[in-house]
């Protein structure tokens, strides 16, 4: 219902700008939608009372409620960095030679907490401020996977396998640097549509900060809901025997979980808990899930295409997927 309401919204808000207050604005649409739902709550509850739907709704709400605090935390920090740390700082902090800047930027991802939704705009800003794209891309890939919040969540999710945290850190950093170097060698700047949007110019710092928080929560939150719906559908509908069949073959298991990570699009701050629950899979397969998820997934692909252009995303995402699976298997073979 929300999707079908969306088109009148945009039309409405544009007309709102044209100062035609009689038209349907998105505020009005929202009010009507909420009112309608309150009126229809009886039939709605009845429709959701079948066991499948009930369990779907529970898992859906659970994923959203569980991930929201982590999302908010990441968004707050990313807004603070985006607003209060001058962009020139990043350009100065990185080595001039791209081959060296890649690992430095990749490692710098460790101190910038946030989920992948937050790292895409930051990487876009870095490119715009003259950071070499190879370094910015290494940062884009590493930041959501190796920051303290994500690693802590991983440690909490795998209390019996602490080596999982190290493996995730090593594999993610490795793949991020490899992608940075690969871009440095093969990448062409005309694939990259430099982002033109400068969101925080001409605003006070407070306004810019809250604007960034609002935008990121609305944006990333929307994609979080998509991920939660996919996860709930899988959990409530797909029989466990499918996953069990995939888990029996070590090669298929790694590929299955890598694809699952792409499809589920779970925020990197929450994906460790999902991985932990896939107990029938080997640790290496689950590592692949944790390495691929923050680097390539459906919502991330959409965001990359929006920020850097489709020509870029179409080349970047498949290459990252292959390298991420390879990196996870290699690291898994050594560490797990």
């Amino acid at each position: 219902m929300a999707i079908t309401k969306a088109p009148p919204d945009e039309k409405g808000s544009r007309e709102d700008e044209a100062r035609e207050p009689r038209r349907l604005t998105s505020s009005l649409a929202l009010t009507l939608l909420l009112l309608l739902m309150v009126l229809l709550q009886g039939p709605l509850r009845r429709a959701l009372s079948a066991p499948v739907m009930q369990s779907w709704t529970t898992v859906f709400v659970a994923v959203v409620v569980q991930a929201l605090p982590f999302l908010v935390l990441g968004v707050l920090l990313s807004a603070a960095i985006a607003v209060y740390v001058p962009p020139s700082f990043f350009a100065r902090a990185l080595p001039r030679r791209p081959a060296l800047a890649v690992p430095v930027a990749g490692a710098a991802g460790a101190v910038l907490p946030g989920c992948e939704c937050a790292s895409v705009p930051v990487a876009g800003a870095l490119v715009r401020r003259g950071v070499t794209p190879a370094a910015a891309l290494a940062f884009l890939l590493s930041a959501p996977a190796i920051n303290p919040i994500v690693l802590t969540a991983t440690a909490v999710a795998f209390p019996r396998d602490p080596e999982m945290v190290l493996a995730r850190f090593v594999a993610s950093l490795l793949v991020a640097c490899a992608m940075g170097w690969l871009w440095h060698r093969l990448g062409r700047t005309d694939w990259l549509r430099p982002p033109t949007h400068a969101p925080h110019e001409g605003q006070s710092k407070g306004a810019a900060f809250w604007d960034s928080v609002r935008h990121d929560v609305m944006h990333a939150g929307g994609f979080l809901v998509v991920g939660a719906m996919a996860a709930a559908t899988l959990k409530a509908v797909a029989p466990e025997s499918w996953l069990r069949a995939a888990a029996d073959n070590p090669v298929v298991a790694v590929l299955a979980l890598a694809v699952l990570a792409v499809v589920l699009s779970i925020c990197s701050e929450a994906d460790a808990f999902v991985a932990a629950s896939l107990t029938q899979f080997s640790l290496t397969a689950r590592l692949a899930f944790l390495v691929v998820g923050p680097m390539v997934d459906l919502k991330l692909f959409a965001m990359q295409a929006g920020t850097f252009g489709r020509a870029f995303a179409l080349r970047f995402a498949p290459a990252t997927f292959v390298l991420a699976v390879a990196g996870a298997v290699l690291t898994g073979a050594v560490l797990l």
């Binding site: 929300a2 999707i3 859906f60 609002r214």
Partner: protein, 250 residues
Amino acid sequence: MNRQAQAAVLFLLGASLLHAGTTDLYLRYVKAGLQPLLLASGAVLIATALATAWYEWRRSRTLHEPEQQHQQQERHQHQHQHREPRVSWLLVLPLLALILVAPPALGSYSATRTGTALQEPVAYPALPSTGTLRLGVADYAGRAVYDHGRGLTGRRIAVTGFVALDHDGTPYLVRMALNCCAADAQPVKVGLAGRIPPVLQPDTWLEVTGTYTPRVTRDPVNDGPIPWIEVTEAKPVPAPRDPYDETWNT
């Protein structure tokens, strides 16, 4: 979605998180330890909503001067090129689900579709030597399967969980164990034998009193071990405050 609508969604989302966090509602979905984070993020969302509304109000006041209005419109055009994410409308869904529907904790449907998640306990704490033994489902199951019922034989044992019926009607007493949120909840099952009530309604919570039996069967879903209990008495009880077993969280 325009700014006012976004502020409204953010406010309602924050309020519903605060509501879930201050009541026991959140325990249906996430682990108990997440409560402070839930409350904090609810507060931040409300603050974001208020800040958005405040800046929007200030901006609309500056709109009166024609030149600025022109600039404002230009900026708006700019933002529309950037596109306010249409996907944000989906945030209304969890809001509605949480406020209007408030789905129950996972029950027998998930329990029968998922294999028992019984793990071998790290240690077996000493049991009280007299009186009825009150054990959790996972505790009883762990002792019965991996400790071969040592210390359980001949004792009156009370276990609380909800009822789940297998495809062929086998009755189980189940408790869902949870690591973080309901998405990773997995059942631990104990088979019910002996004097079980003639009519068993799935999802009703029972306190079962009975004795240990060495019988162990395999879960048809994942081949996991399911111990049994010889029931002497079963009485309906209200669902516990936290429907999930979180003992594996530590």
